[in-house]
Symmetry: C2
Subunit: 342 residues, 2 copies
């Protein structure tokens, strides 16, 4: 262990360009001797970001050896697994191997954890790639990684299958933000009924209580029917969220405008639907990475809507535990997700 503290954000490991943070840096120091406020992790599996894995896979024509080589060369060059084309990283799971003496943490050596900060800023050294699971976009390795003082993580629970836990942790921020925003008696719109949308719907139903209302807007009839069958929301509307007038009409047929709207749809052009179905002085939470800042900003101004529009933050206190608890509480959601992710 190096007998001094590094910067909480990891800038002490940035090699170039100077003055940048690890995520924006081209190359970071992946020497595995830790500073006194870092954590060393024995890595088991890299859960590569979907955009990154797809890009590497396609550029390799699905050839496993080529994918291996590409991953090894990125990490060798950058000291981290950050796809140079997509800029994205992923998460990892592993075991705590060493904890810096100056770090306050509830972890102990041997704990199994998932890192919740991106691989795009995590110092990583790969000794050997053991296996590549193309469908799961996961890479089993022998190697090590470092977590900075501000690096966030979740202990992996014993009672949830690892892959299910990973799938849930991947979108943990969404239901946690719903928990912060939604109060009893509110009307809540959830646009997009996928993994993240279902977790948000569950949390919203819990928070609005008896006098509130939760309405899901989902593109696929099949998915919508699943949500109806499992009785997860008060109303489920089948509509195309890229068509604001259609969404507005169908929504106002079943409800007054929403106090809070949560957008989880990973396609472009759904900002205006979100704005139209939200009441004046309401809140719109954009969790979709397909959100356009300017479309949202100009869209609200264009219709004179006094709404607060929030940029989805994947991190909020207690988000990992909250999302894993949903899986423990709801047998319906657990079964639905197990059939998909296990």
């Amino acid at each position: 262990m190096i007998n001094k503290k590094g910067c909480p954000y990891g800038t002490h490991r940035v090699i170039e360009p100077e003055g940048f943070l690890p995520q924006a840096a081209k190359k970071i120091d992946n020497n595995m001797e830790i500073y006194s406020n870092e954590i060393l992790i024995d890595v088991k599996t890299l859960n590569v970001d979907s955009a990154s894995f797809t890009q590497i896979k396609n550029s390799c024509n699905n050839n496993i050896e080529c994918i291996k080589k590409t991953i090894l060369s990125i990490v060798k060059e950058k000291g981290k697994l950050q796809n140079p084309v997509t800029g994205s990283g992923g998460m990892l799971i592993g075991t705590v191997k060493e904890i810096g003496k100056d770090l306050k943490t509830d972890l102990k050596v041997g704990d199994k954890i998932a890192t919740l900060v991106s691989l795009s800023l995590t110092p990583l050294k790969i000794d050997e790639i053991l296996d590549i699971k193309i469908d799961a976009e996961q890479v089993d390795i022998k190697g090590k990684a470092i977590l900075f003082e501000t690096g966030i993580y979740a202990k992996l629970p014993d009672d949830i299958p690892e892959k299910l836990a990973l799938a849930v942790l991947d979108v943990a921020g969404a239901p946690a933000q719903v928990n912060k925003l939604v109060k009893p008696g509110m009307t809540v719109a959830i646009i997009g009924g996928g993994k993240s949308g279902i977790l948000c719907t569950y949390q919203a139903m819990k928070n609005v209580g008896k006098n509130g209302k939760v309405i899901v807007i989902e593109y696929s009839k099949e998915n919508a029917q699943k949500i109806i069958d499992l009785n997860l929301a008060h109303h489920v509307i089948v509509a195309d969220a890229t068509k604001p007038v259609e969404v507005y009409q169908k929504f106002t047929e079943v409800s007054e405008l929403a106090d809070v709207t949560i957008n989880n749809v990973n396609v472009e052009g759904t900002e205006m639907s979100s704005i139209l179905i939200t009441k004046d002085e309401g809140i719109i939470y954009f969790f979709s990475m397909a959100t356009s800042f300017t479309r949202a900003a100009l869209g609200a101004e264009g219709v004179g809507k006094d709404v607060t529009m929030i940029i989805g933050n994947g991190y909020t206190k207690g988000h990992a535990q909250l999302s894993l608890n949903i899986i423990k509480e709801s047998n319906e959601i657990r079964k639905l997700f197990e059939s998909k992710y296990c």
Copy 2:
């Protein structure tokens, strides 16, 4: 007058594609017979959006006749002045000519107003272009325009020069949002000390009161000195907001982290500076159209910062009056702006 109401959002005037709102539509109906909830305006000047005007000007090599032709042909084709390349519009000033009988409004025929919704969604008919002021990016015309029921506007005050009022109304949303967010005793960071930044700084100083603190971060030494000379803030830091580590260090030398950070910088890559100087559970308000949704979202997650990041909404109740009041209250700001915009 047509004896029926149109849709408050103006969809009744969308010609193609069906199901779209006027802003996203390719062509809208600019027949100047109003529906019973619309307002007809005698237009005096089009204040063309800067991005749009620059694009037209450059494609015309500064040739006035070519600029005229381009503007006329856009409006003829689309029924509105929406630049097909930039997608943006602008504002207009004019006089109220007719008010639909079913519309509740405090306006009367003859009032001089500025529209605060974009020209990119405003039905417009140009009879003649009278003059083009290249430097001011303004076009004097003979023509008419229509304001929908949800269309917002401001009455032009008698005691503020028209051009100064227009310059202020252009960014009216920013200080109004500051007024909603900033409470007594808070520490507030304003990134960018231009027109919008100065209005925000003034409002923040007013709201934080005796026990609060307002810190401006400005790139240009000259601008920074003006803000210091006019005594507009508690601290002014000269720093490059695209360099988060530099900004963080300089900021923490003079202050604890900010409760509220307002970003007004119209250059790319300033999200991370905003995130680093804001405290956990603080609020960041992005007013800059150069903000990247994904850089903000992934940036906060990457450093494990539990901040609320808000997408700037140019509209909030009372924003026009609030921003014009600043000009009436502050002689310093009025003089500074007059030297620039009058």
